[in-house]
Subunit: 270 residues, 2 copies
């Protein structure tokens, strides 16, 4: 796809996105300077909107970030939420489940850390791992993971109906971009701690992950909780897309500072 | 106290601080411009140190903020941690305990949300409420709260021995400053949601709170977990004191990026 053609971020529900034809380096005609300038304002606006979400206390916001290793999930969080204070905004990074978590249904550990109203919680990886790593590595049989797409759609519909807005971002990078980023982790002493030998085994499963991502993007792209497919080779474009999407969504909720108790108006403090 | 005299932030263990003689407007000779300039650098440094704390993963940091209503706990968090990303840094704001929490020992709800190694957790109010509001409002009898100072000292000693560094800040404001801030909450439509009529009842207990704070600052000011008594009428001075103290502490821990697995060095990614 040439840079002149716009590549959509959101697709109609249940559209199949061919990730082999998707351009992870797309910037939809935007320059780095334009993106960085826009991002400055978006970060400030996101902070304002988070304060209003908190004061308003009618909605919660769940942000789901998925992407292959080194797709930039941590970097996106650090950049997009740079101006958002930690009161009312938290991140949960999911690792391999503990024995206690495995002893429960697979959505249990995610449900218990959902944001309360007024708060933003960012899932750095999420319940989608149940149809990604667990599928690709054969941790559960196909008959099990096949049913999970519908479980997840129902969960997200339920959450929205109960005041939790779910915003999902898939960060798409090219295989070459992943190679460069993993190599950087090996070569840079400040990044070596992020690298595990297992990362190279995972990389060998690139095609299997691509297929699992395509199924996820097709089957869980719903009207109530659409997937945003973000070209993420260029970090500055990735960040502006995520920030803009969040700002637009929050701005659409009609957030407002709750009206004061009439007994409070005009009071003088001694 | 004149602005020329330095007012200590930390006192020798178990010193009684007379809060009636303490100057909450003290700036120890610093100007607003100096403080704001220093704060810019401290925020960036705090972010760097948090990244190293995370990579190093040997220590956790617990930051405890206490102060009377409107002392500026939220404002301090938003300002000091402005540059620290939400990955690895979270805030817990404690409200009145739930029935489940009340059914446990009083430290239970605090212990379960302590930071894991590599993380910073900020307690916006803390287990110290067990010797503050619970004492002042007579929620528990004296025979009960009297024993809690020692429980808390033991807990903090235990935490430190197990890798959690505890940094405690008491934000001291004057009664007149509190009056102005509560009045602002009543008069400013964007702040009214923060105000409750009960805040005025609490204000009537100013002297009782002062005594409870003095006891807390005396009995729980230990070598392993000293109290920092922060003059907090001037927000810019308050922020620079808290930020500087945290930066100095983290810088003293000898944090480092963990060395790479020898099997990883020199690897080339295909």
């Amino acid at each position: 796809m040439s840079n002149g053609t716009r590549q959509p971020i959101v697709y109609p529900p249940h559209t199949r996105v061919d990730l082999r034809k998707f351009d992870p380096a797309a910037t939809n005609g935007m320059s780095r300077e334009e993106a960085e300038a826009e991002l400055v304002g978006l970060r400030l606006r996101l902070n304002e909107l988070q304060n209003m979400l908190y004061a308003d206390a009618r909605y919660a916001l769940l942000v789901v970030l998925q992407g292959i290793d080194a797709a930039g999930k941590d970097g996106t969080i650090n950049s997009v939420f740079e101006q958002v204070g930690p009161i009312g905004c938290s991140v949960v990074s999911f690792k391999a489940p503990t024995p206690e978590e495995l002893a429960h249904d697979y959505l249990w550990r995610y449900h218990r850390v959902m944001p309360e109203r007024g708060h933003i919680t960012i899932f750095n990886r999420s319940y989608y791992e149940a149809v990604l790593v667990e599928r690709v590595k054969g941790i559960v049989p196909k008959a099990t993971w096949e049913q999970r797409y519908e479980d997840i759609n129902r969960l997200e519909e339920y959450l929205l109906r109960n005041g939790t807005v779910v915003m999902k971002f898939f960060l798409a990078i090219s295989k070459e971009e992943q190679r460069e980023r993993l190599q950087e982790r090996i070569d840079n002493p400040k990044k070596q701690w992020k690298f595990r030998l297992g990362d190279l085994e995972e990389r060998k499963l690139w095609d299997e992950y691509l297929e699992a991502f395509e199924d996820m993007l097709e089957r869980c792209n719903t009207k109530h909780a659409p997937w945003h497919v973000v070209p993420a080779d260029r970090k500055w474009y990735r960040d502006v897309v995520v920030a803009r999407t969040l700002v637009e969504k929050l701005a659409s909720l009609g957030l407002r500072y709750p009206p004061a108790d009439p007994a409070v108006l005009g009071l003088k403090v001694d």
